[in-house]
Amino acid sequence: MSAQSLFEKVWAQHIVAPETDDTPAVLYVDLHLIHEVTSPQAFDLLRSRGIKVRRPDRCLATLDHSTPTVPMKSIKDLEIVSEPAAAKQVRQMEKNCKDFGIELRGFESRERGIVHVIGPELGASQPGMTIVCGDSHTSTHGAVGALAFGIGTTEVGHVLATQCLLQRKPKTLAINVDGKLAPGVTAKDVILRVIGEIGVGGGTGHVIEYRGSAIRAMSMEERMTVCNMSIEAGARAGMIAPDDTTYQYLAGRPLAPQGAAWDAAVKRWRSLPSDAGARFDREINIDVSTLAPMVTFGTNPGMVMPIDHEVPRGDDPSFRKALAYMQVEAGKPLLGKPVDVVFIGSCTNGRLSDLRMAAGLLRGRHVADRVRLLVVPGSHEVKRQAEAEGLDEIVRAAGGEWREPGCSMCIAMNGDKVASGQLSVSTSNRNFEGRQGSGARTVLASPLTAAAAAIKGAIADPRELMG
């Protein structure tokens, strides 16, 4: 057999029926992640056709998007702290899971959190799996060597009903990331650099495999940050070959294989990395040894630049419209631009290492006067660990808000939002117009750059605050 890539191996292992000229492949799904926003209409489809969920045991369901992040004494307070439609959606999810026999990591669960944080955290996301969710940031789980991608609600219904999807085989794109990151430069800066290189549509139709020395040197949480934003380059999935870092991360997690099953799994997983000589449809090389912290200046994640650069010039009307919306000027730096809100959290940067990075800069410092800092752990587990380390105290002492887990201000569905016209520095993944609230302006950055902005009250280079 000819040399195969990681993607090709995982794809081939999940074919229920091969694709033909007339029909797409029937692809088996190992793990179906479900949340409250993109599933109600799918459950309704099953109800209307009298279909059961084929494999409730292969579902991992939680509440994250529409949930409030203000502390509640009891779930009974949901209707008080939430907008009515958001509360109704949460209640509908509770009912749907109950009706269809799916375990829900709901409000009473210690395991609740953003679906892309809890999947790996629980050890549910494993190398070689196919993982889908009605959520474009499902690409996150590719960090463990899974083929993981976002689907629409109709497809959520397909997976609930049949545990399968109809798919045409995508193309492959290898992105070789080499070089050692300088202090103050993070995985977030790497992926922003990648998106800047290939553009927001550059990965359309492709599955990315991230390779190279910089990727190998990353922790699992850093790899998740990279894979998370694959979709911002247009690629439905981004994958990283599993290695000892992966196995050490997964070992002992509640839903990971245990004992002899673990040993057998690791043996199987070791055969997954791309063979030497595996061919990719496209290949890109990026050197990150001179990379600086990156910030976006426009209204999509591809409009990104090193923090110490000036906003580029462009004649294109869409480019000019984006700059006008952001109230930034071509040829001028972003450094020093006043900031209203700083958001640290999301499925991109809401894990323990992200909060540690931010707290490291905030320790012994205070947030600038007119800045609102919101820190939202990605899950209850992240929150517990962070609190055990005293990170919550550091955030509060600095004048920031420490919240309950959820998607929060990344998507602004639950009360956490940026007011119209305000400028936010956010560790999330999308700087689209109005993403963080109608009229909100968003600068995407790393947790270090976000913390620096909170302290300085303006866009600031975190390297200047690092000892």
Partner: protein, 190 residues
Amino acid sequence: MEPIKQIRSKTVVMPNDDIDTDQIIPARYLTTTTKDGLGKNLFNDWRYDRNGKERADFVLTRPENRGAQILVGGHNFGCGSSREHAPWALLDFGIRAVVSTEIADIFRSNSLKNGLVPIVVDDDTHRWLLANPGAEVTVDVASATLVLPARRVPFPIDKFSRYCLMNGIDQLGFLLEQDAAINRYEQAHA
């Protein structure tokens, strides 16, 4: 889903590049638990002013564009979130086909499952469409061709999706028929 063989309509042009699904329908309207009525919030933040009044200069609702069923966007349409609410909102408003030089994967897949035809064209054709808003064109699904006044432009669409569109078939039925193969797969991989 109604069978779709042909769509004949004037075009409406939104020349912005990279129109993302957050623009098509902002997240705050995703708390709905049904598919209905999303058209009123289509392009909500571009379409309404702060008082919730429809802006007179918004292209999609200008009198001359009312009734247009074919939306021509700038380069790369539908990037971002996987929300199927985006095609639901477009369809509810009355749009039945979108045209661009590139269409994001998940948006494309969602569109095809709801009877919204995603049409990718070459730069030349795209330039012509941008320069001729309101042009009468025909989307011929059977021949996978976009028919302009002076030329016929083929567009890519996989055979299965085209078959489903033309016959109003929802793909779940096809998947349910795979039950025996799925059982075999599950037994082999238990």
